[in-house]
Symmetry: C2
Amino acid sequence: MDIVCVLFDGITALDIVGPYEVLQRLPEANVKFTATERGEIRTDNRFLGLVADHTFADTTSADVLVVPGGFATRALEKDAALLEWIRAIDLTTTWTTSVCTGSMLLAAAGLLEGKEATSHWASLVRLREYGAIPTSRRVVEQGKIVTAAGVSSGIDMALTLTARIAGDDFAQGVQLGIEYDPQPPFDSGSVDKAPKAIFEFLSAMYAGRL
Amino acid sequence: MDIVCVLFDGITALDIVGPYEVLQRLPEANVKFTATERGEIRTDNRFLGLVADHTFADTTSADVLVVPGGFATRALEKDAALLEWIRAIDLTTTWTTSVCTGSMLLAAAGLLEGKEATSHWASLVRLREYGAIPTSRRVVEQGKIVTAAGVSSGIDMALTLTARIAGDDFAQGVQLGIEYDPQPPFDSGSVDKAPKAIFEFLSAMYAGRL
């Protein structure tokens, strides 16, 4: 099973490493980190390099496509070659997925038109620009397209997908394997739950960037 | 603030990328991915390369040390040079932390003697071999030493640490930034919660490896 994980300069690392850590445990998983060129790409803050072993040019199909996000996607929404590649790969997939602002790339590629979808909360409303229906659920399934909310939500998305692919028992085993029994020290992980001042501070910080 | 993230061949990626994604957002964070040699290291399944920009030899201090885990730590518990480096860095840190079986390395280095600590559930009891007190809490704080349970728990640990370093408001902002409002599709992320058959299957799979 070819699981194609997209990498690009400026990626938010957890967007892709969260789903990868879950999906790599699927039976016969063959995870292919894929970018414009082989070699190192750098995350948003430049602190971490992730290595692409495959290129978009040499990747012509996928069973599962995972498109992550980050500040870089704002510019990539206009990258015609990338969007064309996403459209072509989607024609071959069993599942086409995104995390965070990765959904903006699926949307810009025309894959979310008329569909419910989610994204990082700071970019959610912009899905409308591409004809998608912004939905604030953490994981949104629309046929074979599965979008997830911001950054950390890719773990929940990937467990959901694992259950669809390999069954509930298998997914529960993966959840125990990664000991995913989340206990955040605060309850401020969504727009509805975070203190208003904190939401407003971050909204201003992200404005025009996500 | 120097945040030194340890890398080694066979690492479990989410162990280190989870905490990194949180801690890199601290004010003046300078995250240094550090390994025996500069360059690419491969994760447990070989699918992903992570890049070390720094070496143990050129890293002589840290404000925060993060030691991740994975199947590779079982052998590293006997790596005298690594354990000596961990001891030397710990003398300089404000916080010494671990995720998953990273605590086995802190323990083997002698840093957990007489202290409560946690680890991946499959290796937890082995902490006793090094004089630590196995504790099944997800995040265990003992003075400046903070250990976290398996794989995904590093996110919770890092948010806890962020609150200690930069205050509760800041940590809540980071939590909203990464939209960490976990909603796993199952409730099987701990030994107490997972179906017994699934626990037994994984226990057999991990036996002698973690």
